[in-house]
């Protein structure tokens, strides 16, 4: 048995370190460490409740608006505020734009460049993949980055700017769009749709979201064009559906809530039985047995975050969230399984759990679904109605704001007394996915997914490790905050 250490881990948001024990050329056990702690929960305590809207988004520069949405939801929980219909729609459009941009950034900048490494030079698909996806040099970034920047004009219209906006409030959004702006919004989304259809999928989005079985999915893209098709060829050649498997409960807090309900429903999906159970908030606990943090309460509503850099046995700044006592995976693949997407459920069933392949496919299909949804929401804005309703100032109480960031379930637990924050706990998607071990010694989802991965001669440099880690699209700055 030998031990290897992998890091820094670039092309993720933030940094992480893996410690892997290798036996017979395969990972026998793995540990993942978050290497940065900034103390946001300590900074939030003692501030007026509404300051969470300025501080919490700054945890993360890539899912900043999701953090805004969670903070606003938590504050709403304290006062019972409800935004007007336009406020919900506009916030959801901005949230969808961020979610799509995150998936796009992951695909083009973070994930695909690993297949353009010289390691794969002898594969028949390599010249095409290298030309398109080579980090910094590949041609695809010249298409995807301007498309991403143009999509983010949604933020200029709804959120003022991105990242780090104060536009998302408990009472809705801070700006009412006029007719010209509504038309610009529709135009921006339409342009992004053209990019997605021409460059990413090589197919109309309505057809992409209608694919319900793996057979239909494979046949549809078999002779296709587009960057996603390039991924499918690589995935078949490298058997990415057998890589980085994880068979844990799949968790979603539910996404794009409004008066008419969720676009993607909340719940917990069991890949082995195909059953969906309702979410039990009481079942969520955080363990710090292997974290550089002091023991307080496992209940996020009562817990504090107090650093202890010298804690024995600790190896990560991240806490270890558990659902009903066990780890859970979250993200687009979980969200779509819970929401009932037949294709993603079938892909997960085929492999008895999630894999590098199903994680990436779920994100791509979500780009298609969200683009269509955002277009419909934009058309649905009623310009003679308000976008914002004044909300009361929170004075005391406890609440939880639950949303789905691009990377999965995001929760903000807040306690307020005399208008000031007493406690604020944030459990982010990658806190779930890249959690360290818990007191029972149970490994987190990534740690489990790494077991069995073949590293061969390449050791720490094995691209398979990179594929597994990046398939989760980790956001380490959210993980420990």
């Amino acid at each position: 048995m030998s031990r290897i250490i992998v890091g820094p881990f670039n092309r993720v948001e933030g940094d992480l370190e893996l410690t892997l024990d290798i036996e017979d050329g395969r990972v026998a056990s793995g540990r993942v460490a978050a290497t940065l702690y900034r103390g946001f929960e300590q900074i939030l305590a003692g501030r007026p409740a509404s300051d969470a809207l300025a501080i919490a988004p700054r945890i993360c520069g890539i899912c900043s608006l999701s953090q805004s949405m969670a903070a606003a939801a938590a504050l709403r929980g304290l006062t019972g505020a409800r935004p007007p219909r336009n406020g919900e729609l506009a916030a959801n459009i901005a949230h969808a734009a961020e979610n799509i941009a995150d998936h796009l950034t992951h695909f083009y900048l973070f994930f695909m460049p690993d297949f353009a490494r010289d390691f794969y030079a002898d594969r028949e698909w390599f010249p095409a993949v290298r030309a398109r996806f080579k980090a910094v040099e590949g041609a695809a970034a010249g298409d995807a980055l301007p498309a991403r920047a143009r999509l983010m004009h949604v933020m200029g219209l709804i959120a003022g700017k991105w990242p780090h906006s104060l536009a998302i409030q408990p009472g809705g959004v801070t700006r009412a769009l006029d007719l010209g702006e509504k038309m610009r919004l529709i135009a921006v989304l339409g342009e992004f749709r053209s990019f997605a259809e021409k460059t990413l999928f090589g197919a109309p989005l309505e057809q992409v979201v209608e694919l319900t079985t793996p057979e239909a999915f494979r046949a549809f893209f078999a002779d296709g064009q587009g960057d996603f098709v390039g991924f499918l060829r690589v995935a078949a050649s490298l058997r990415l559906s057998a890589l980085g498997k994880c068979a844990l409960p799949l968790l979603s807090f539910g996404a794009y809530d409004s008066a008419t309900g969720f676009l993607f429903a909340p719940g917990v999906f069991d890949a082995r039985t195909g059953e969906t159970a309702p979410l039990s908030e009481q079942g969520i606990a955080e363990d710090v047995a292997f974290s550089f943090l002091r023991e307080t309460s496992p209940n996020p509503a009562l817990a504090l975050t107090i650093p202890d850099a010298d804690r024995e046995n600790a190896y990560s700044w991240s806490k270890a969230p558990r659902l009903g006592g066990q780890p859970a995976e979250t993200g687009a693949v979980a969200r779509q399984c819970v929401a009932g997407d037949p294709l993603i459920r079938a892909l997960v069933a085929e492999t008895g759990g999630t894999s590098v392949f199903s994680r990436v496919v779920a994100r791509a299909l979500e780009i298609a679904r969200l683009t269509l949804a955002a277009q419909a929401w934009a058309r649905d804005l009623r310009l003679d109605e308000a976008f914002y309703a004044e909300a009361p100032t929170p004075v005391h109480g406890t609440a939880v704001g639950r949303v789905e960031a691009a990377r999965g379930a995001l929760g903000h637990w807040i306690s307020v007394e005399k208008g000031l924050i007493q406690r604020y706990q944030i459990v982010a998607p990658t806190t779930w996915n890249f959690s360290p071990r818990d007191a029972a010694g149970v490994a987190g989802p990534l740690e489990q997914a790494l077991v069995g991965v073949e590293v061969g001669e390449a050791g720490a440099k094995a691209p398979a490790i990179q594929h597994v880690v990046r398939s989760f699209d980790p956001c380490m700055v959210c993980t420990a905050h």
């Binding site: 992998v6 670039n10 501030r47 520069g61 890539i62 700017k161």
Partner: protein
Amino acid sequence: MGISRSFSPPINLLWLQAGSCGGCALSALEHGASGWFAELKSFGINLLWHPSVSEETGSEVHAIFEAIESGAKKLDILCVEGSILRGPNGSGRFNRMAGGERSLLDLVRALAPLAGVCVAVGTCAAYGGIPASDPDPTDACGLQYDGGESGGVLGRDYRSRKNLPVINVAGCAPHPGWIMETLQALASSDLAENDLDALGRPKFFAGHLAHHGCARNEFYEFKASAKVLSERGCMMEHLGCKATQAIGDCNQRAWNGGGSCTHGGFACISCTSPGFEATRNLHVTPKIAGIPVGLPLDMPKAWFITLAALSKSATPERVRKNAEADRIVVTPRRGK
């Protein structure tokens, strides 16, 4: 005078993320009509390594740092994003570079003297920013400033190889143009020390106030104020807006195609200033005897109060009504 190029292309740029949210890098990625990479290339900038986009990982990255430290690789521009976390107890262990025992604190101290020029990207790297908020859990500060005090981890006397102090591209997050125009000006040797303001910020954006060009200026002139978020009036009197005190050409260039904070309907929180993170109740204007505590940066207080009273008495009905509405309720027409 001919064009002098003190950097010879390719200009090697290394980007490090310290106690950062990554938002400055994501902002920069929005720049360039043909994509950020093409834009960097057009100015002769070669990314030695950038954590968000480069291929090199793990030991390959440590090898790049070693090559810079041994002198084998020339470092022209060092960009640092994020606060430098000095804690606990000066060890820097709150922010370790994975794959070794080294802290970002140690790495930045080692590399900055080797850099042709050192750029703090964002208010965190410039002054400390949000992580330095009370109770400052990680002993966070900026590269050459600790809040508004000169010093930081590099010290007030720090000079890069090109004899420049740290260039502070402040903002949370900075406009993509602020980042890229600074890097471009450095690449073409067009940025000198006298192009910086007293806090090390390039004057091309720091010479302006966020207030300049604000679409709410007419409301400001007449002190026609919004009382509730989403109203169109000036946000200075009631809603905490600091645009008349904050540096930045925020309202003279488009954010994400046409936005800005005040355009988006929320207050400027002066994110380009050291110590902006200390403000509480960000959407409430602190007042003494009904007068906002923070008046426009360089305006005599007595004048401001006199002019405000005068302009309030002269406010047209259109301006007064629109100020307290979320949309235009009275359109412009010729007065009687």
